[in-house]
């Protein structure tokens, strides 16, 4: 499964913020860690701020802070902000038997992906992150 770059940046950022919700983290710090453009990241963070997942902090240091609920916010909550998550058969519907057969197979994969993304919270993701070495 491929996620668009904006979606991945949003997930990286949210997980960094949620790992230490008391800390203010600058866009530049995350951009450097993930080797991405600060300008590009700023747009993603602006969207996350707009939907109330992070809060921009003014003043000395600045940066952003996580204000969501890591135990309730799921990967799908984030992904759906940046990508079209409609089932494949809705996007590429073909009325022919071959088209419908392919759509039914693709929808199996979509449904499993949706179930996974909808059931994994940021808190669970942070636990999964701990399994990987720094």
């Amino acid at each position: 499964m491929k996620l668009q770059q904006n979606t991945r940046l949003a997930l990286y950022s949210l997980l960094e913020f949620a790992a230490d919700p008391e800390r203010q983290i600058s866009a530049a710090e995350i951009a450097e860690k993930y080797a991405v453009s600060s300008h590009h990241l700023a747009k993603v963070l602006a969207e996350l701020s707009r939907v109330g997942m992070v809060q921009s902090v003014r003043g000395v240091g600045g940066g952003y802070r996580f204000v969501g609920n890591a135990r309730r916010l799921t990967l799908m909550d984030v992904i759906s902000r940046f990508e079209d998550v409609l089932p494949a058969e809705n996007v590429n519907s073909q009325p022919t038997p071959v088209g419908q057969a392919l759509a039914s197979v693709l929808s199996e994969i979509d449904e499993i992906a949706r179930a996974s993304m909808s059931s994994i919270t940021l808190a669970t993701m942070l636990r999964i992150t701990e399994r990987f070495p720094v």
Binding site: T74, I112, A123, T124, I128
Partner: protein, 178 residues
């Protein structure tokens, strides 16, 4: 197996006037301890009521059959555990070690787990799962599996929060035409 600490004095059992399901008492001044232990016959009504509340289907014969088959864990290697708080049965977990099913080496399977909706988010599900996994470890297996409907986001989320990941199996099905 039983993990017990001293409970507080038991409040009166109250049944919901509409469904007959045990109603969870409002919080006592001092939180009652949670006990995880093997099921007893006297737990069955509460287990059936919780399952009925969650699924919308009462399956009394099914649960009676499960109790007959799973209540004696020592003899059969099957485990039917309940979570009890202030003398109320608030949750259950059922599982067993299965050998070489679907070509897999022996592993533990959890095929039922639930907690009364009003008693959730307090660690009962975690303690039930931990207890049944302890039983599996004692039986010599090092893996636990489960299967659930992909639209059951709540329970999927619970198992995910316990560290479970998607396994190497794909469930398949076929409508059998009469």
């Amino acid at each position: 197996m039983s993990k017990t600490t001293k409970p507080n004095a038991a409040p009166k059992q109250v049944k919901n006037k509409v469904s007959g399901a045990p109603r969870i008492q409002a919080a006592e001044p001092v939180a009652a301890a949670l006990e995880i232990r093997p099921v007893r016959r006297t737990d069955l009504d509460a287990v059936i009521a919780i399952d009925t509340m969650v699924t919308g289907i009462e399956k009394r014969p099914y649960w009676n059959s499960l109790y007959q088959r799973y209540a004696d864990a020592v003899a059969t290697g099957q485990h039917f555990l309940v979570a009890v708080k202030a003398d109320e049965t608030i949750g259950f977990a059922i599982g067993e070690v299965r050998d070489w099913e679907f070509g897999a080496p022996p592993c533990g399977w959890v095929f039922a787990i639930d907690v009364h909706p009003q008693a959730r988010l307090a660690g009962a599900g975690t303690q039930l799962l931990n207890a049944i996994c302890d039983n599996f470890r004692q039986a010599g297996v090092s893996k636990v599996r489960t299967m659930l409907a992909r639209d059951n986001t709540l329970i999927l989320s619970f198992f995910r929060s316990q560290g479970m990941m998607i396994g190497p199996f794909i469930p398949l099905e076929l409508e059998l035409e009469s």
